[in-house]
Subunit: 334 residues, 4 copies
């Protein structure tokens, strides 16, 4: 962090400022020029609130050089993190594919889908039991029954399960869920993030609808700062002016994240595009862009799906997608 002081700051005020900064950790490096004094704050500045510095009366302006996140920063942890799920799936090491319906609807549905996606090569099963819906009149999930059905499907197929938590009030129901998903709308639900930092379960942290990569990493830092570093990031499209797709898949965030953090990154082409026919090309693109995995919505009867049918592929379509994905993984040594 570089602080440019105002001109003619009194020694008294400057000393007070220096003391204030050092109390927070960083050391200070002075560069005194003829007209300007510039301070370089050296060390861990992630805990410094740049806005507070900026409004102090000795300060002309301040610029952050290093990023405001630390535990999830690749700079301090150069090796890729590998997140182990249910003792067997190692996300970040081998390409991971999470597949399943938007929402769990019935035993028949979830078992059939689970068996089909496993056969095609998926490594985890997804399914929503609690669904965040824009309208209060839409189907909002089977709730605890949905979790039960997922566990049933896990028993049958052996696939670890991933499901979204929409409220801390329900967290006890997720004891046997293998990966807790934090949805886009909760990416900045800081109370939820803090609480999840206290457990050691893998967290799938989706990117918020209109959040920058830096804000996303700050949310990961919330979980990690609490002690839980088992975090998988998931790009699911951002909101832009374009309406030809449901959201705009920001695929270039994959190499950006690979540079900034050691956490694994997966891509959800279903929510990003909102259309089942675009899932295949975007899944392939995700593999070669360097992503660590995919999250794909699969439904045995998309036309009857209670939620997001338009973006769900059938098990047959998923078979085709997986053929392409696995072939590209092979070529890319993933």
């Amino acid at each position: 962090m570089i602080v440019i002081l105002k001109q003619n700051v009194s020694k008294e005020k400057l000393d007070a400022f220096v003391k204030h900064i050092k109390a927070q950790g960083p050391d200070i490096h002075f560069s005194e020029g003829v007209h300007t004094t510039i301070l370089g704050l050296v060390g861990d500045t992630s805990r410094i609130d740049i806005n507070l510095i900026n409004q102090m009366d000795v300060v002309d302006s301040v610029r952050r050089i290093s990023e405001p996140f630390k535990v999830v920063n690749r700079k301090f942890h150069p090796e890729n993190s590998i997140i182990t799920v249910d003792g067997k799936v190692r996300v970040g090491e081998k390409f991971a594919v999470i597949a399943g319906p938007c929402s769990v609807e019935s035993e028949e549905q979830i078992i059939e889908v689970a068996e089909r996606v496993k056969k095609a090569g998926a490594t985890m099963l997804r399914g929503g039991a609690f669904k965040p819906r824009t309208s209060p009149y839409a189907f909002r999930g089977l709730k605890s029954d949905g979790i039960e059905l997922l566990l049933e499907a896990k028993k049958v197929t052996g696939l670890p399960i991933v499901s979204e938590l929409t409220s801390l009030a329900n967290i006890d129901l997720f004891n046997d869920v293998d990966v807790i998903q934090v949805g886009a709308r909760n990416m900045q639900n800081f109370d939820m993030l803090s609480e999840l930092g206290k457990c050691d379960k893998p967290i799938l942290l989706k990117r918020g609808l209109a959040n920058t990569v830096q804000e996303w990493l700050m949310s990961a830092e919330y979980i990690a700062a609490g002690g839980n570093e088992n975090i998988i990031l998931c790009e699911r499209g951002i909101r832009t002016f374009e309406t030809a797709t449901r959201n705009t898949l920001d695929l270039s965030c994959v190499p950006v994240l690979k540079e900034k953090t050691h956490l694994p990154v997966i891509v959800d082409p279903s929510h990003a595009t909102g259309a089942s026919r675009f899932v295949r090309p975007m899944s392939k693109a995700a593999v070669v862009s360097g992503a660590d995995g995919l999250m794909i919505e699969v439904h045995n009867h998309p036309e009857k799906a209670l939620c997001d049918g338009a973006q769900s592929v059938t098990p047959d379509q998923f078979d085709d997608i997986m053929k392409d994905v696995l072939r590209l993984c092979e070529i890319e040594n993933r």
Copy 2:
């Protein structure tokens, strides 16, 4: 809602479709043409999930004509709603001004600010006790002590108090808070919205960072559908590509909302612009655009504020803003 059927749909399938729709409430009006059959769904279609209709096999395409919200829709409630706070402030009837610091920091601070803003003409006091912060290392509020200090300031000044709820886990602490604020990041926290629909306390619902007016009204509908129609909407700027201001104040949403809903709408120029020097012109603009009130951050020592000091005005600056605001209110008969 208008449904265009595919060509050559069998009578059997059509009958099943019609039965399916009617079971959800609306009546159907047929327009059979030479090549196309168009169905008009008449009546309350707010509970119809347009995506589910769209993916049904007899359907070519579907367009929504009426809006998917009902309780908050002006069409079904042409008169303006007036929200009474603490038995005395009537939002929607008389121009309301909510003022106070971003976060409650000390007794001295909140009492001084409360007294100053009251004297200048504010009708409610704001103050954050629980603060959502992007960084886990930033100040997150005095929590229950903050609520206590707000109640203390209410006792001294008589001003009703407004404070943000960030997690349902703390809701019991808000029993004596007059208006519960739902922040931008929780606008689509549907579990929170549903829960707030069960109480009868006034809710200040801020617009999400990147949410459309329609999504915002759907979130209001969540609260209203639960039985609580005491909702005040608050525009606080949206996220765009522009960085000269912290967010982009979407002031034209005021007349848009006045057309679509009967709920009162206030404007927060502090968060929208992120800079105290832009609060005055935007406050004035809000008055004449037809807004029902303002929410302004005021701090007695902005340069020492633990949060959002850059956008907080001083009590003296607030005096000047209020002079302008009150003069415009008089001219506009508000």
Copy 3:
């Protein structure tokens, strides 16, 4: 501009770098620390290409402190600029109202509209002769005949005329036009801007659909750098995710611009909102936000307008808007 050097730069390379910078004008101020050397580039850095500096091999990073525009910068020209149109209208001194149809369609239309808007208090007449249209099949204006009709209307009413130039190929037709409008889609047509810098006619420079305030001022700088400082800026809404209005009026850009530049700023609520019923509240908001004028689309028969009828107000509606606008101007001493 602050340049942070890489560590251990050889004296030779540093000397070459310093020579390179000084050759472009600025002086250099050294701040040598233990680990880092920071250079402050003092003086006029508007001609320095920050990207070129950034990629040089001695440079670790570079930050711009001052803005990259100079002639239009308020810092170097603290007084408001006043742009005189046709020897009588002084934009920036007295509130200016430009009104008229989106496109000139007939003598009857333009004369009737011109007479009505003049009577209501407009100070200039607008009318499109060359229309940029998204579809190649839409009406694209009466071209030179449209200019003739505008001149005819000027003769009748005395109102100076404003019309949009869409191609330098037609510039000779604009000899008698009082203000040349550069439309949103041409805001970064740098060849056009450079050419307009060579004349001394007032230029109305609309903000691009998705351009930042800084880019807009850089486009003004293009015109000004060529020698023509008769520039009026016009905010007309930006593109965002919101679709309830045609564009999103960024009204807070008015005080932002007032701080950054000495040029006058007017607001076009017709294009910004795209709906005639929102023109009145946004016109009022523009006045009190500090804008120097308005540009409003008026058509005698909006339902038959060949272009943008939905956003055009009738002469009667314009009368009402002007009553409000003039009353607010009086209160604001404008």
Copy 4:
């Protein structure tokens, strides 16, 4: 196009409306219901201005069913178009790679880069002679000398050349240029598009900074409607709130375009990401997403480039990218 009439429209007015529509081409199909009459406009509605219809007094609302572009619409031209450049490169048939510097700077530079990219497998050479620059003080290209140097490089390597036209005033200089590029900022320069519709040279039409896919295709329609169907579309990133990359690459527009149009689509990862280290993963992603080619900035000394050095790869890096690209093309049978 579906028109919903207002209730109780007189027969007289309806007849006039029907006559008005039929005069523009489409036939009308009536669906009369109890309360509503719906008209289906059948046939070519691309020339109908939906806004004009919407504001007519008999009309309640109107919805477009088919797209407003025709010549470039895949519906009317199901086969992929193949654009032949310089009699040998067939874009749309075989994967095309356009490579070269942002701007032509010297004979040594352009010849060296041309030879290197040819050797690596590029099929066309790019180079800017006229550069649109945000600042009037930045390098704006060698102009006619730049074109001369490109032709020289073509003579040496045989590679067809691609260069950007920034003003119709210079079009004669482009007689020997093989592909005329229309830059992002000119995507809606309708005068330029119309003019280019009159020649038969291949046009590379870049997507505008903040333009939708539909607007982009309407711009292609401008060129095609004039008679020139030799159009190559180029995605180069769109403007969003994210700043980690220069723009946001909208890669899902590739399958969207493949559905809507028969024109070939290429991707420019250099401008989209703005950082040379992200060009490789995004180039690979473009291949497997179904793009017909790439446009990549290559400079022999990026650190000295007069323009966009940060996003230019070196010839050695380009060699590596091409190895990956060609391997993926082989697997994908492109």
